[in-house]
Chain length 226, copies 2
DNA sequence: CTAGGCTAAAAAATCGATATTTGTCCGTCA
DNA sequence: TGACGGACAAATATCGATTTTTTAGCCTAG
């Protein structure tokens, strides 16, 4: 299950990078549960690699807020809570709002084409399950922002995206999400971007998040935090 | 030279943690120059430790945007540029503004006392050189925000603080900075916080950053980016 | 009973050595 | 002359083994 885009090949790149991608996917998709102890040796066998790459990958994930490091006592996956979810939602709204406006400000034809394309690809994958859909969904969202000349901001947004989507997987509903009429929301953001109307695009994107948040909030309270 | 607060002891904690702290200080203070190649073996000898801790520490620093990882080709310190500096300044203003308001909203007597204390300690260390002053300066700034119940936001702010202060060191002026009448600016932010006036506090904090930014912008253009 | 502390097992952290990869310097061939 | 290619050197990445630390169970003293 590979949820995150751009990293695919099984043998390519360093073992560390492969471990990083694999572990990130496992955490985001819930294959590794919140708060779960991450034993080096177990993961080493599971991913068929040495301890060093695992360790390094976990270090990287620590700074992505997906893994917690307990000095001298190993690693565990980040805990979840409604407070954490709310924080992510708020930060995401704030930062993506910033990024989207900047992105639209720098609008070019090439960018416009790239978001149309990303949207189309996402649409096309709609019925094909989370494995196909989710990477393209992230691609689309990041493509919207990609024109902002703010690498750090984009990195924050990417991190927050992963943290956010994790809750969707934990709520066990990648399916329901696609069924909800999120298509319309996406299309409307895209349309506003193409029209280069920052105000409208931003407003719709934030609405999109507000709805997603509302949608998940219920599930989370009952299913996750219990 | 230990610039970052809260991590002090030379033998305590894991080798990884010590390496992390040491390397972060070296990068922030400019002992390791922007874009400099970070050879594992060199650092290993320099910090008198094994390759694994170095490697892990560098991985952690990667996600702090202080180190860049070139897959299969090692690590180097992050480059600097005026664009990067401007981005940091803008993000910092935005996020700290958010955090400060939230912090004030949750104001308590304990928090109020903690910021008064942090301010006093910083003041006291004013004439004693960067080694004494800088950690307390960071303490003060973070204390202002600490009451915001947003761990992720605070982490972002802390990262941005380090990235920002790095430019001050690179401009080679930790001294000049203290001479500038930054004391008045700090005091005024503190005063507004104690009065629990979010509007005024935020306004003054942002002004503080704007002035600092202006102050540094000149130096940077000529000295760093050349 | 309970608290403290000892011991053994488990896990994390670290080290030293090896394998891979990258970068560089020549020499050769078109 | 210039570019391609191979071999050497340097540095990274990875592995396997060792050391250190933590954890859990158990026993004993109060």
């Amino acid at each position: 299950m590979n949820i995150i885009p751009q990293d695919i090949d099984p043998t390519e790149g360093s073992a560390t990078h492969r471990a990083y991608v694999a572990l990130r996917n496992m955490i985001v998709t819930g294959a590794l549960k919140p708060g779960e102890k991450l034993k080096i040796d177990g993961l080493r066998k599971r991913l068929d690699t040495g301890a060093s790459p695992i360790r390094e990958a976990l270090s990287l994930l620590t700074s992505d807020n997906l893994v917690e490091r307990l000095d001298q006592r190993g690693f565990r996956t980040a805990e979840v809570s409604t407070a954490n979810f709310q924080e992510i939602l708020l930060l995401r709204s704030t930062l993506e709002n910033l990024a989207l406006r900047e992105s639209i400000e720098n609008a070019t034809d090439a960018w416009e084409e790239s978001i149309v394309l990303a949207h189309h690809r996402m649409q096309r994958a709609k019925g094909q399950g989370a494995d196909m859909f989710e990477p393209l969904h992230k691609d689309f969202h990041m493509a919207l922002l990609a024109n902002a000349r703010s690498p750090i901001l984009l990195k924050f947004c990417s991190q927050l995206y992963d943290l956010n989507i994790r809750y969707r997987f934990l709520a066990g509903n990648a399916l329901n999400y696609q069924k909800r009429d999120v298509g319309e929301e996406h299309a409307s953001v895209l349309e506003a971007c193409v029209a280069r109307d920052a105000e409208r695009a931003s407003e719709r994107l934030l609405l999109h998040y507000a709805l997603t948040g509302e949608f998940l909030a219920g599930l989370i309270g009952t299913e996750i935090v219990a």
